[in-house]
Subunit: 155 residues, 12 copies
């Protein structure tokens, strides 16, 4: 689908994090634990190495920046791992961006959103993603990378 | 209502485009066709010429930027053509900005939003606009300009 | 799609008006202004002339008559401008008639229905129309004629 | 408000009956009793005599005909007693007709609609009527005439 | 059904008024006019005289008192005219009281409640009343008395 | 229940068709196939012959006409097969007409309405019919005739 | 939990009855039977005797009085049997009173409220009660007393 | 679609009955009449004979058994007549089984489910069936067999 | 109603337990305590002895088995105590089985279901039971047996 | 607006408390803390002194008494601080009383009602109050007094 | 809780304003009056002086910027006064930011949002704030500062 | 938590599949592909080998059997991978079984259920699972095994 995985350089996967994830490990440990976003990034790079892919790991509190990055992925990335945080539940713009770029994406949530407030049970990006992984903590990012890498090999 | 249309310079109309419209022509052609946003801008300038108005044509993926531009229109523009994209369905802030500026605005959608997902049937900006044009493709922008120009002549 | 636009005679567009529109200009001027339906008809004929199309302008308070006319348009007209009035919000029959005839139609409302009672926010015919124009007063009819004429030229 | 009540002729009140009321007395006597619509008409004329008003009593199963009659009342009648039958619950067109004519109207129901199916609890015409009388059988028509006659005297 | 109407004394009808009706004429004249509750009581006594019935006219702001009075009516009254004010929309207790006493009752509202806030469109007592009269001002009380008197004559 | 089936003439069954069914075979063949309404009428007459009943087959786009015909069936027909088309979903008047006439009726739909838009899942006439047959195409009419003929024999 | 059950005097249980229960046996026997509230009181005292508890049996049509009595139970009673009648479905105040006093309470309904109108399916007090017994008639009061007495023995 | 109808043996149709249908004729005769399930089976075999098809008639109270039988039908049957009883309204599993097997199925209900409790108005299997027959009693099974036989002949 | 209680043998009451109740005492003690289902059975037999009835105590995780047992109760039992566990909230089949057998049943829940998740507030079997007892723990079974025994004595 | 603040005596403000607030400090300290209503009253008098206003501080568990007091405020008070407790969420009567008296009122809640049960998120009195203060504990009363005093100075 | 209030410098409170508040005094004076945001800032600084706190007063139309500022407050501020404008009703991100930082916050609205459109009745930030003040105009900011200062003194 | 992972034998994980999954690869390949359930089982055993765990792979169309297996897992398994198929959306019993056993479980769906019918967006088991993986096809099972194995190592 995209030309982002030439022979010599590994395919690039954008790992995009939405609002408040920069506070990870600092806030509400009873929900999110003590792992920081830097820890998650490290985990991702390590797993990516094993999978033969590269990772560009980013975070923003701005919905528009997330939309911009997804657009950028259209020509720069072979896949997207997206934890849109609170925008998951409200952003049609991010869903439209995913549909518009056509890059395969997997939605990840650290916590099991289906056990939290009702307004967290709905996801707009999920309507434009290949699949969803929720509740498995930082390992969810790793599994999403593996699933995307698997798709890249098969395609 | 505004002083933006002095004798020598034509009245200025802001044509504001929201998230993902920069992908126009590149994404989902079965819904949006192959016309690009630059094509739409060209159409607008051409029609504006015939109507005796000028057009400032802009696009942003950021809700806050759209709010800022609408505020700016308060002193700089005689009318607004607004295609707020996905923010149409979620942004009370944009609706409030339109109400706060008092500049007459017409909402435009390229596709017939009433035939798409249910969450696209509702529009906040429409509650603060003179009217709505949907489903007529890029010509919708032209017709909105004509309607605004007609209002300017009558006022 | 239809044979209604032979070389020598201009394509015919049905402009169909639903219940209570015969009272236009006589009722609730704070919503609809002082223009009468005869005035709107005159505007339509005048604009049609410039667009190279002909207009058959009609009004009925009977849902069944509107359905009949839409059926008739199947063989007699190249397009429909439809202001179904109150039937907009309740008539599945009119929507089905539009789908059944396949003649391109544009829905027009004089007022911005999205700023009125909640039961006026839904339209059945819009589910079967090319697009919708609302809130632009009698000019809405003119713009709908232009959009239909534009479609005819392109097809 | 209207000129329908000159010195020598009594003011005219339209008593309009909607679908299925022609079956009155023939159908579902456990709800509607054995009085026929002709009996109701006779009661109305008799009461009207005592109130110094005249009555034009009509019935139709066609929504459009009811709309036409309400329009006609605009110049011909000083008041309307309306039992719109099943259209009470579905006809925005009849409500709009009442608003458009500006003739004072009172809605009447023979049965207590609030004790029947949920879809009979809502009335569109009530949104455009002076008031509502329900559940008092044919006497409801008489009381509505008295209320309208009282308004005419006071105005 | 009840023995409350012996030969020599006229049947007694309870006219019960709920919360805030003591402010009538003093509050919100744009909705309720300038007639006071004492004026309404006088109108009721006068009409009752003509109808051959007697009236016991009362008002309370307490739901429990209204329930008590309805219970009392079971042995003391031949009918009830009930304007339960705001309790109309919230009191299942009053509805149950009406059902429990079996005295025929007619619900009256001064204003057309169907044109006011949505929470005023529902009535619990109406589920236990013979009928409803709304929007006809103080005359509504008179018409309710006439309807009850008519029932008493027929029974 | 009715006297419509004397010894010498076969009982008459009204087969009533609502709005847009006159377009059958001409519209949306992917939903309705290529059979025309005339074809359906021929099928009905043929089947009726075998069942010993007669058929009066009619179509109208007017809700009021359908109500009139159902009223007429009260004295003229022994049963009704009703495909009310779009009015199925909106017409309380037709339901009330069926209840008012007391003639046994069976609702028929060519397509499986339960697989189409949500607003087609509800039927008012079904609340007043013996039963419903949906999704079996023109054969549905035949089966409905057989079921009605079976009832007539048993009664 | 409370000190209301000293050695020499039996623990006191308040049996509180809400609006219209004073009519028991007099109203709607098809729902409630012919047993009067005095009969229920006698049953309660008799059963209490066997259980070694005392009963204070009361009824009021006033929501505020029920709240007052529940407050009083805070220092005077070891348990509450509550049949709040129609207030069951509307009174947050009674629920808050139960929570505020902390006295264990069991909600009782004579009829099976789950088979009656939808608005009787919800109970506010049940949110603050130990449990609910419904549909078992006057025996429900006895069983509630037994359950409370059992709790008192265990605590 | 299936090979289940070779020249010498008649095509086999599974007639599957869900929970409580074994009580037919024994329960609630005011809804279901006095015909037993054995009677219905006899009717089916008799009609099948005339239609040139064979019937395997079964009943189970277990949702899983119904799913198993539908799976079995995939290779063994040419059609399914399904009266899933109460599972009609709750079983997505049965709907999925029908979709998964691809055998044409017709849903049958003895009573007119649209006139019963609201929770009986929805059917999951109907979303995977050719059509629905309701309210025609045991004859509904016969008509479903005829419709399936007709399909088999045409295919 | 049934012949299940001859002179010499005590009437038999089925105590039926639904899914997961076999885990009682082993799971979620903060909700259900430490009593096991065997303990509850022992309590039931002991209480039954005092009431002069016999108990057949069963548990199944299969909805269909519960339906089968309820059918069996039709000829074998004089009453049913039913704790349908999670099927309480989803099983129309169990409700229909209760209606079909006509054996008087009382629904029991160990916990106060009205204080738990919203989806546990609704009960289908309650629509077919004499009454409901909730929140009183294992004693609820005993009270249900007493209530059924009381009914048997009175009948 | 009112004459309740003559030169020599300070303006009087009614501080009205609804059901269960008499238990303050005694109940649910995890929500309401240990401050009693007498403590709140003392705080109010102290703050009122500093603001140059007087306070009449009252509590009732009776909705009708609260309505009566609000009526009384019409002639006796210059402002109302209202904590209607549970009636906040159910009492249209209290809202109507506030509208009827026209005395400026501020609604106060000790706890942040928006973080509690959903039925506490709605307030009827708030529709008739100047503003709302919630979640600030007893200080909320003080701030409401200051806001009212500020309004009195400005008016 | 935070170290932001050392002995020599006054504790810092962030006063954060959301979209369109920069138009204050310029827009819709019938709702918001003529006070500008600069005026509000001046009021805040003046009040803060009296309370012994400092204020950092900011405004942004960007949701992401508000999230950033709330994060910043985590280490820089002792409290937050938040008027999130239209984002109040749509921003789960802002709510999550407040929860993540743990700085005590009070939500302020100039107008009584409960008397405006229904979509303004809900607040996400209120779920993470100590309390809410609405409808008291600019004074609401002052009262919020006082409440926060009071908390700081007590903690 | 469980003793199911002694030193010499690998921990056992139950992989449980619900209704219709036995048709995998045979049905609706556009949704589920051509992989059979046996293929999925093989994948699971292979992955388990690498992870140092054992797998017991099962399928049933019976809700009760799934409940039984989950109970069995309580003493026999160290984790559960659950694809409950259609029961995902309707089975509170399965959710309760998971809660009752306390064995960590991960819900897996082959397709992205959030892009299918609305009734597939809700999951009861998810309320009792550690997490959810959807839309990743058979690889989802592998990732779930890895996540469970990871948990076992950490615990």
């Amino acid at each position: 689908m995209t030309d982002a995985s030439p022979s010599s350089t590994p395919p690039l996967i954008y790992v995009l994090n939405g609002p408040n994830l920069n506070l990870l490990g600092l806030r509400e440990p009873q929900i999110y634990g003590h792992v920081t976003l830097a820890d998650v990034e490290a985990l991702c790079h390590q797993r990516a190495l094993g999978l033969g892919v590269a990772v560009s790991f980013r975070q923003s509190n701005h919905e528009g920046v997330l939309v911009d990055w997804i657009h950028e992925a259209r020509t720069e990335a072979a896949g997207i791992v997206l934890n849109a945080g609170a925008y998951t539940h409200t952003s049609i713009a991010i869903m439209d961006a995913l549909r518009g770029t056509g890059v395969p994406a997997i939605e990840v949530h650290l916590s099991n959103v289906f056990q939290r407030e009702a307004f967290r049970h709905h996801s707009y990006p999920a309507l434009a993603c290949v699949g969803v992984i929720a509740g498995l903590g930082p390992m969810g990012y790793e599994l999403a990378l593996e699933a995307l890498a698997g798709r890249l090999k098969r395609s």
